[in-house]
């Protein structure tokens, strides 16, 4: 049981990282970015390319991977979201555009790096063993990095004037312009940071699972589920939601049925939403 819980939590933190990406971009621009999963894929695959194809040293490869992901984020912003945003397109058009962009990214990487699943070497090796149970240090890395990002971003948004300006943009773009804020650049910063978080998730994920051109969809979906469960737009909510999804999945898989673990997780999610229509940490006014 203990292991199942720890396993669920560490799995949950991967979802949490993706969920935080959704929340960050939503809190700062009001955009629901369904290319979030694609960033996970790009991060992993681009790092694999730098490491496995170009044979760069590990650290350099990670940096290159993140840079490429950031670039993809910037392209998404400049070429797609910003024009729609400027035109005041309905939120759902933006969602659809990001979905298609995510698929486009999958297709480009499939063409570029092929369909083979690839791995990345572990960041740290070894396992933490306490008594009869043990877990890879790699999972701990994921947990620690997610927590650091959550706290750092949370503080940034709450305390710094840039952070507040970013939230202002999400609320009302015209008014934020009147306060000397440039929604364009705020959005670009937000999108690039989100891309980097997604990419980081992909890079940390690859050693414990794998990376491939098609990995994005799964993480995109479950990250979104986590973000919703926690309360959309809330960073601590993203982490709580991620852990909840991870736990439900691993406990259902272990003790009920692995065939139906996803079904169970989703049905529980439905029940939860009916009981708490704004997620675990969301406020009713946020809906």
């Amino acid at each position: 049981m203990l292991f199942t819980i720890v396993e669920g939590i560490s799995l949950g933190f991967i979802y949490a990282l993706v969920a935080m990406g959704y929340s960050l971009i939503y809190r700062t621009t009001g955009v629901v970015n369904f290319a979030q999963g694609a960033f996970v894929m790009v991060g992993g695959m681009a790092t694999y390319w730098a490491l496995g194809v170009m044979h760069m040293p590990f650290v350099a490869a990670v940096i290159v991977g993140l840079l490429i992901t950031a670039l993809v984020g910037l392209i998404l912003w400049m070429a797609l979201v910003l024009p729609l945003w400027k035109r005041g397109s309905a939120g759902f058009v933006v969602i659809l555009a990001t979905l298609v962009f995510g698929d486009l990214a999958d297709n480009v990487f499939e063409k570029w790096l092929g369909t083979n699943p690839e791995s990345l070497p572990a960041w740290v090796s070894g396992r933490l063993v306490i008594g009869s149970f043990g877990i890879s240090f790699e999972y701990l890395v994921i947990i620690v990095v997610s927590l650091i990002i959550m706290i750092a971003v949370g503080l940034f948004l709450a305390k710094t004037s840039t952070g507040i300006a970013m939230r202002a943009c999400a609320a009302d773009r015209v008014t934020s312009q009147l306060l000397g804020i440039s929604p364009q650049s705020v959005g670009a910063i937000a999108m690039v940071s989100t891309a980097i978080f997604g990419g980081l998730a992909g890079i940390m994920l690859a050693p414990v699972q794998y990376t491939s051109y098609s990995i994005g969809l799964t993480y995109g979906i479950f990250g979104f589920v986590a973000a919703i469960i926690g309360g959309f737009g809330s960073l601590p909510g993203a982490v709580v939601g991620g852990i909840a999804v991870g736990l439900i999945e691993s406990i259902a898989g272990r003790y009920v049925s692995s065939t139906y673990e996803v079904v169970i997780a989703l049905v529980l999610l439905l029940v939860l939403l009916v009981i708490r229509p704004a997620g675990l940490l969301g406020k009713a006014t946020d809906i």
């Binding site: 199942t4 083979n116 791995s119 890879s136 050693p207 794998y210 098609s214 990995i215 691993s250 692995s258």
Partner: protein, 373 residues
């Protein structure tokens, strides 16, 4: 993300005969892309080789490759289109069994024979398979566990696909007959990214080894999750690409894998099969270098050659005549020797098991067991 197509083969040569139109329906994307992409490459290599020699008895091969996204629904659309637009005479199908099942009736209605790299849904006269029947694989894997590893309690992990479900059932039945006990049997959804629950159940069942009938990236997930759980028991993996086996081994050293003909090479017990590989592998290497998909490519190559054999035997490129010819093909391919009969559309019932068990030591693979050895 729907259909795609490409045509290769030219009509520029002097041959006056109509070319034979072969459709290829494969999952170039989707969960079996890592199998079907190299598979389609093998088909193309074979077609190019045949056309370079002037075709099959002077009849050029005209390929139409369509991506069905590893999905049955897309498969139906794509195959319908190939029948109507490209007027295909015969179809080469990829490894997605659900898709094969979905378009089998359409092909039968159109009287187009199919040679697929998946299990067959029904005993239909128009369908042929190049996939080793699950019994073969199982006997091989189980035999290895029994006679090489000297273990008795095994766990079976299978993918929730027609192929996986069928194989798991066969395996449980056959284990008994060779004195093994299946203590746990776990299904995995295609595209799963977490296998810890299944592995935990295996752990608590007291299994001494795992035999899986999975394909694709889940193998890597399985190895990594097993490592994270601190497991040590051997895992004998089902058919896959070399790269996936290597990555799995790097995460979890105690991995053995089912080696197909091209992966067993040069240790193939059948000299004809060995010779076929000796002919094919250099061709593959020339185009794709050290790409890891040679085993699936080899099966694609074989599929094409089987059709060529039937065409030249019957002098027919279409319909019942070609179908009947396919039912009598006997061909020594890179995978195995195929002896098709009207009663055996896998061509394997009367043939010695060609598979082996591979293992990586460092980056070098070695064959540690062959069924017939």
């Amino acid at each position: 993300a729907c259909g795609s197509s490409s045509s290769s083969g030219t009509s520029s040569t002097s041959s006056s005969k109509a070319p034979i139109n072969i459709g290829v329906a494969v999952g170039l994307t989707g969960y079996l892309a890592s199998d079907d992409v190299p598979f389609s490459e093998g088909v193309k290599l074979a077609a190019a080789a045949i056309n370079a020699k002037g075709g099959i008895d002077g009849q050029k091969v005209n390929l139409t490759v369509q991506n069905m996204d590893s999905a049955a629904s897309t498969g139906v659309t794509v195959v319908t289109q190939m029948i109507d637009q490209s007027h295909i005479d015969v179809l080469i199908g990829g490894s997605v069994s659900a898709a094969t099942a979905a378009y089998a009736p359409i092909l039968a209605r159109a009287q187009v024979p199919m040679v697929a790299a998946s299990v067959l849904p029904t005993d239909d006269q128009w369908q042929f398979s190049t996939l080793q029947p699950t019994s073969e694989t199982n006997v091989d894997d189980l035999g290895f566990v029994k006679s090489k590893l000297h273990l008795t309690k095994v766990a079976v992990i299978y993918s929730e696909t027609p192929y996986g479900e069928g194989a798991a059932a066969r395996m449980t039945a056959e284990a008994k007959s060779i004195g093994l006990k299946v203590v746990s049997s776990q299904g995995v959804l295609t595209g799963a990214t977490d296998m810890t629950p299944q592995l935990q159940k295996v752990q608590s069942s007291g299994a001494q080894a795992i035999v899986d009938v999975l394909t694709g990236p889940v193998h890597i997930v399985e190895a990594k999750d097993a490592a994270n759980l601190g497991m040590h028991i051997p895992i004998v993996m089902g058919q896959d690409t070399r790269s996936i086996f290597l990555q799995s081994t790097q995460a979890y050293p105690n991995v053995y894998w089912t080696a197909l003909g091209a992966q067993v090479y040069p240790h193939n017990s059948n000299p004809e099969v060995k010779a076929a590989n000796a002919a094919f592998l250099p061709i593959y290497k020339k185009t794709y270098g050290s790409a890891p998909g040679e085993a699936n490519a080899a099966r694609g190559w074989d599929s094409m050659q089987i059709i060529a054999k039937a065409v030249s035997a019957s002098k027919a490129i279409t319909g019942t005549k070609l179908d009947t010819a396919l039912e009598h093909v006997s061909y020594a391919g890179t995978e195995t020797v195929y002896n098709y009969t009207p009663a055996d559309h896998t061509g394997q019932f009367s043939v010695a098991n060609p598979l082996g068990i591979g293992h990586f030591v460092g980056n070098k693979s070695e064959i540690v067991y062959t069924a017939s050895s």
